[in-house]
């Protein structure tokens, strides 16, 4: 770089500055330094301009020293940014050339021939060094860039995954909430259905009680009439007795007869009063919601009572209807652990159906038809059997298959709820651990059989 050259060192230095700023991303990493670096073009233009205008070795020297100064700054920056490996390698790459340049510039004023000989070789080595380390720096920069890229891609992927997982979580949350809502709704519906079922059972009970009312009234009126009549006649007997005792000719035989009659009447009053009380008790038991408590129950008494109640219930509605009742109750039947109210409802239901069936058959005007409803109890092994039989219209196999289904009825609408046999079936099988079965022949009759564990 002798005198009379083109003063290209300063412009080269500026070019290096701009390349370096970009390569090391100095505006972001060292913004304060960058502010100075961007102003370096001013002295560079000054030196080059003066060099072209005036020329001379001094300006040539300044020109080269400017380059050395810039390179020094480059080393400084590289060192400062040594955490970023390519910057360090850049600094390392620049060190020999810079030192060489500075030494050359410091020596030049004293030795004009310094450029020749071994110096050229050293310069060559310095360039080689520069080239090798720049290459290293570049490769490392590339590797780092690739790594950063990879990391960014990974981060992006992760963020995508996170977004997706968030979306998924949100959707799962939504779905869970929807399911919870549905569950709540179902639970509410179930509770409602259970309440409705309870009401249906209660209203079925009340409906059968309504059917019973007339029968009950009749059944109570009969014993009540006896109570009244025997009481009345007893008053007459007492009057006659008093009359007899006041008479001067007392008839002791007649007095004894009257007393015996009185005693008998009082016994009849107690007996018929008890009968009426039993009916009222049965009615209360029937209407009461089942307590679910079993108690030793006289099946015979229950069957007899409800057979009469059902009969008179129907009689109250169809006044001219008449049927033969055939109770065949096994004596000495063991008591059954049962809920008398519930079991009574089942019997009432079976009897009511039986009377309905014989009434229907009678209405066909069949000659010589004698409507008959019988109830038979028996001990079968360790079980108590109750059979309710009628010689009514009977049922086809299709109807038989469905009679225990809820809401199935063969009665005209408004006459039957379709719940009677369904509830009866539940009461016997679930409530008592027994069985309720049916046998029927169309135009012959029907038999319902209850088997209860004794």
């Amino acid at each position: 770089m002798a005198g009379g050259e083109l003063y290209m060192a300063a412009p080269t230095a500026i070019g290096l500055v701009y390349w370096g700023r970009k390569a090391l991303d100095i505006p972001t990493r060292l913004p304060q330094w960058d502010r100075w670096l961007t102003r370096l073009w001013r002295p560079a233009i000054g030196i080059t301009g003066l060099g072209l205008l005036v020329g001379g070795p001094v300006l040539d020297w300044l020109d080269n020293m400017f380059l050395a100064f810039v390179l020094g700054i480059g080393i400084g920056i590289g060192w400062k940014l040594r955490a970023y490996r390519p910057a360090l390698w850049l600094a390392v790459a620049l060190v020999p050339g810079t030192i060489l340049l500075v030494v050359e510039m410091l020596v030049r004023p004293f030795n004009k021939n310094f450029e020749n000989g071994p110096v050229d070789n050293i310069e060559g080595l310095a360039f080689l060094w520069l080239g090798v380390f720049l290459l290293i720096a570049r490769n490392q920069a590339k590797a780092i860039t690739a790594e950063v890229e990879a990391r960014r891609a990974a981060e992006q992927e992760q963020s995508t995954l996170e977004t997706q997982s968030e979306t998924l979580e949100y959707e799962v949350g939504q779905r869970t909430a929807a399911l919870a809502r549905q569950t709540d709704e179902l639970r509410a519906t179930l509770a409602e259905l259970q309440a409705t079922q309870g009401q249906l059972i209660q209203s079925e009970k009340m409906a059968s009680l309504g059917e019973l009312t007339a029968g009950i009234a009749h059944e109570i009126q009969n014993p009540l009439n006896f109570v009244n009549n025997f009481a009345d006649v007893s008053v007459e007997l007492v009057a006659e007795l008093a009359e007899e005792r006041a008479s001067p000719t007392r008839d002791h035989t007649l007095e004894a007869e009257l007393l015996a009659d009185l005693k008998q009447n009082l016994q009849r009053i107690a007996q018929h009063g008890g009968r009426a009380a039993g009916i009222v008790r049965g009615m209360l038991e029937h209407s009461r919601a089942s307590t679910g408590e079993r108690q030793p129950t006289d099946v015979n008494a229950l069957a007899d009572e409800y057979l009469r109640l059902a009969y008179h219930g129907l009689r109250a509605k169809a006044k001219t209807f008449n049927a033969t009742l055939q109770p065949a109750l096994a004596p000495g039947l063991p008591l059954v652990e049962a809920m008398p109210g519930d079991l009574g409802r089942v019997l009432l239901n079976l009897f009511t159906n039986a009377f309905y069936a014989v009434q229907k058959r009678q209405q066909t005007g069949e000659l010589g038809y004698a409507p008959t409803v019988s109830v038979r109890t028996a001990l079968v092994g360790d079980r108590v059997e109750i059979q309710v039989r009628d010689n009514g219209t009977g049922m086809s196999p299709e109807v038989q298959a469905r009679i225990f289904q809820p809401f199935f009825t063969t009665k005209p609408s408004g006459e039957g709820t379709g719940l009677g046999l369904s509830l009866s079936h539940d009461i016997i099988e679930q409530g008592h651990g027994g069985t309720l079965s049916v046998e029927s022949q169309p135009s012959q009759g029907t038999t319902f059989t209850i088997l209860l564990p004794a």
Partner: protein, 127 residues
């Protein structure tokens, strides 16, 4: 005067025997009892021309009082034909009309007013 009382309640016998004990003692009335329609018809066959009055319940298992009434009025029984009074707890018009159509001589509702019944029985000309 022979009266046949037909009712499925056995205690009716005790009641009539006590209510009419003076009449029975004096021999004014004689009561017989049947506990079903069938039994009543058998009694009528076995005791021809004895019964002057039948007092029958309507609601009985087996043959009802109305059927008994029909038999008495339609079957050829040895004369004289007995009078028939129906007694029922169901004093509705339908049953009343049916009884009257079948030729019932009277229709009384339960509970029986024995004082009124006595008056009616005394009014029947003794044979």
């Amino acid at each position: 005067m022979k009266i046949l009382v037909v009712d499925d309640e056995p205690d009716v016998r005790l009641l009539f025997e006590q209510r009419f004990r003076r009449e029975i003692r004096s021999g004014e009335f004689a009561f017989s009892f049947a506990y079903s329609g069938e039994e009543a018809l058998a009694f009528l066959r076995d005791h021809p021309s004895e019964v002057v009055l039948i007092l029958s319940d309507i609601n009985m298992p087996g043959m009802s009082g109305l059927e008994l009434l029909r038999h008495v009025k339609q079957d050829p029984l040895p004369p004289p034909p007995p009078l028939v009074m129906m007694l029922t707890a169901y004093g509705d018009t339908e049953t009343h009309n049916q009884a009257m159509q079948l030729g019932a001589n009277d229709f009384l509702t339960k509970p029986v007013d024995f004082a009124a019944l006595k008056v009616k029985l005394h009014a029947i000309p003794s044979l």
